[in-house]
């Protein structure tokens, strides 16, 4: 349950908690606590070659216990005050006991309800389609956003960012950020209107690197409280006054809050086991800090910037099962492939994550953030359609069956990971006037769907 009392508690603790140097947090407290709890709770994931979509329920449950313990032991770190924000086990349990299990976002006929799912759930994950912060030129923003909004299986849109505003370079936490936030408001709303879905919920404010973008974009005439608003927890388990200022604004405006935490594979939490533990504990801490409606994770590979390597897929699978089996938290997965539009690699990666997430009990899928989200305009709505179709087909299949297909997919795209095939920009895979995919991109999409059917996925 969200309220000012909990908000004030967080803000108070950010100013009264124990003082710790950031270096000590990064170098000692986090790695030591993670290593110690992995050992105490006997968290040892199977070899990636044995299973990517895991089936060990006892391991998933132990992981949740370890995640609770880590959230209690560590808490979060406020970089702005150099203090720890800590919570007792009782406070954590009380907050988790009342965490929302559904949220309705958007307005009018376009309202949609995201609901908590369980492992091997027959109900499909909620689909939030979009480029997740991928930079777009101003002249393409409307068409690209429309390409997602017009997809019938997309339940909500997640916005891209702008590479420029009024032709000028954007700078964080300057007046340019304010102007970019307003461009995002105007163009994403216009795109939904053009798609005939004016009330579709928008994931925002994507141009709000700092609090000023959020505060201006979520004000009179801007994004609605029924859009879904983002706050980040910095890796690992850190927040700051920029994020907490966004929080204060969103709590007082009664906005839907979506918080995310992207742990780094090979970072302070270590390898696969530590990454899975960080995901579980991170989602718990997002709920404690930000009183979130929904949460998302997208662990980042240190060399490819993606989250589709088999090690990360496996950690996501186990962590999602752990959260689905043991908590009310609604947890989404952001798909961050290396492949970009026009490539089979992108579609194989999206399919692998969609199947993994659907079978593992993830509440929703966000993205895809094609070409790792760093190549200007290398995104398109067709990959969101594809992801939604695969996720629907994978809902209800067993984890063992999911694992078989995912492993075949990984074999297909793994050799391409270090090549990072970014594919083609939007204007080459879509007609930007009609906002329709070009024949070559559609043909590739149909080919990969055919391959998935041959692998046994019951795609319509």
């Amino acid at each position: 349950m969200r309220n000012t009392t909990r908000l004030l508690d967080v803000l108070d603790r950010a100013e009264t908690g124990p003082i710790v140097e950031e270096l000590q947090w990064d170098m000692q407290l986090v790695p030591n606590a993670v290593m110690s709890l992995l050992a105490q709770h006997n968290i040892k994931m199977p070899a990636v070659g044995d299973a990517i979509v895991t089936t060990d329920d006892a391991l998933a449950d132990r992981l949740f216990d370890a995640g609770l313990a880590l959230a209690e032991q560590l808490g979060a770190y406020c970089v702005s005050t150099s203090r720890r924000i800590q919570f007792t086990r009782e406070e954590i349990r009380a907050a988790l006991a009342v965490a929302p299990v559904e949220v309705t976002i958007g307005e009018g006929n376009d309202r949609a309800t995201e609901r908590k799912r369980c492992v091997e759930d027959c109900r499909p994950p909620f689909i939030k389609g979009g480029g997740v912060g991928t930079p777009l030129p101003e002249d393409l923003y409307l068409a690209v956003t429309q390409s997602y909004a017009q997809e019938p299986l997309v339940d909500a849109v997640i916005n891209c960012t702008l590479s420029h505003v009024y032709g000028r370079e954007l700078r964080s936490r300057t007046p340019w950020e304010v102007l970019a936030a307003w461009h995002e408001v105007e163009m994403s709303k216009a795109a939904c209107q053009r798609a005939g879905r004016p009330g579709l919920a928008l994931g925002c404010v994507e141009n709000a690197v700092s609090e000023i973008g959020e505060l201006s974009g979520t004000s009179h005439g801007g994004f609605s409280t029924q859009d879904w608003h983002h706050i980040a927890m910095i890796s690992e388990f850190k927040t700051d006054y920029m994020a907490l200022s966004k929080l204060a604004h969103l709590v007082r405006t009664g906005s839907v809050i979506h918080a995310f935490y992207n742990t780094i594979y090979g970072g302070s939490c270590g390898g696969r086991d530590g990454m899975a533990l960080a995901i579980v504990s991170g989602c718990i801490l997002l709920q404690m800090l930000y009183m979130t409606n929904t949460h998302s994770v997208s662990p980042a590979h240190p060399f490819y910037d993606n989250d589709t390597t088999p090690e990360i897929l496996q950690a996501i699978s186990l962590a999602q099962q752990s959260l689905a089996r043991n908590s009310r938290l609604m947890t989404d997965v952001v798909i961050t492939p290396v492949g970009g539009p026009g490539t089979k690699t992108l579609l194989y990666e999206c399919a692998a994550m969609a199947i993994t997430a659907a079978a593992s009990g993830a509440t929703g899928l966000i993205g895809p953030r094609s070409a790792a989200g760093v190549n200007v305009a290398h995104v398109s709505g067709l990959e969101a359609r594809f992801t939604a179709e695969v996720a629907r087909a994978a809902s209800g299949i067993s984890r063992a069956d999911a694992d078989g297909i995912v492993r075949r997919l990984v074999e297909l795209y793994k050799p391409d990971l270090d090549k990072r095939p970014k594919g083609q920009p939007f204007g080459e895979v879509y007609d930007v006037v009609t906002v329709k995919p070009r024949p070559a991109w559609l043909e590739t999409y149909e080919q990969v769907k055919g391959e998935l059917r041959q692998m046994g996925l019951p795609l319509a």
Binding site: P135, S163, R171, S235, D240, G266, S268
Partner: protein, 228 residues
């Protein structure tokens, strides 16, 4: 002085053990014993520290070891250099064992730090003297630190396109101060591409921590070549 390979191998084993359990005192003792046995600081660095750190760096590039392992190695090497090797070199009037001095930070407007931390640690374990300024570092603070530390390289991290203009600000400020040739400026992070780095006028760019070490070594070799 030439020590038998077996002695060097034994020292490498001891150093690996000290890194594994973060035994700073043990590592410092090892360095002292090595110098007492007749090895020069440079011989100890090249014969013992460098092979161990190279192996750790290689293992990290294959993700067989992780950031905490790099952190431990960084702490140990810094202790040995600061407490034993550098004082011995100064006493003998010799030159430093460091590969070069790097001032590193995440550009203004960006609070991401893990990638930057990985690069800082990889540089440190590979023999660079690294001053880490943290995240969201103002341009003025970067310039002040580079001058104070007499840096060879200014390394900037940017995970956001909205921080890239602040990277260019560093170059513009150095140009304006007539100091562009004094510092080599490099950058990395998801939106930093080779095309962008060339257009911005950077001296180098790397896609990840492993590449960053090779790039900085190359720049230092070039600088030493020019100086020679």
């Amino acid at each position: 002085m030439e020590l038998p390979e077996s002695s060097l191998a034994e020292m490498q084993t001891r150093l690996r053990g000290a890194i594994e359990v973060l035994d700073e005192a043990g590592a410092v003792d090892l360095a002292r014993e090595a110098l007492a046995s007749g090895l020069s600081p440079l011989e100890f660095f090249q014969g013992v520290i460098e092979p161990v750190l190279t192996a750790i760096g290689d293992a990290f590039s294959r993700l067989e070891v992780f950031l905490p392992d790099l952190m431990r190695a960084g702490v140990i090497v810094k202790a040995m250099q600061g407490q034993v090797l550098e004082p011995a070199i100064r006493q003998a009037g010799g030159s430093s064992t460091t590969e070069g001095a790097v001032v590193i930070g995440t550009a203004q407007g960006d609070i991401h730090d893990i990638g930057k931390n990985m690069v800082a640690l990889m540089l440190q374990v590979n023999g660079f003297r690294v001053t880490d300024l943290g995240t969201n570092v103002a341009t003025q603070a970067i310039l002040d630190a580079a001058r104070r530390e007499n840096a060879d390289i200014i390394a900037l991290s940017s995970l956001l396109t909205t921080s890239l203009p602040f990277v260019k600000d560093v170059l513009a400020r150095l140009d304006a101060a007539g100091e562009r040739s004094r510092f080599m400026v490099v950058a990395g992070g998801a939106p930093v591409t080779v095309e962008w780095s060339v257009a911005a006028g950077l001296d180098g760019f790397a896609e990840d921590a492993v590449e960053a070490v090779a790039m900085c070594r190359g720049l230092m070799a070039r600088r030493r070549g020019v100086a020679a």
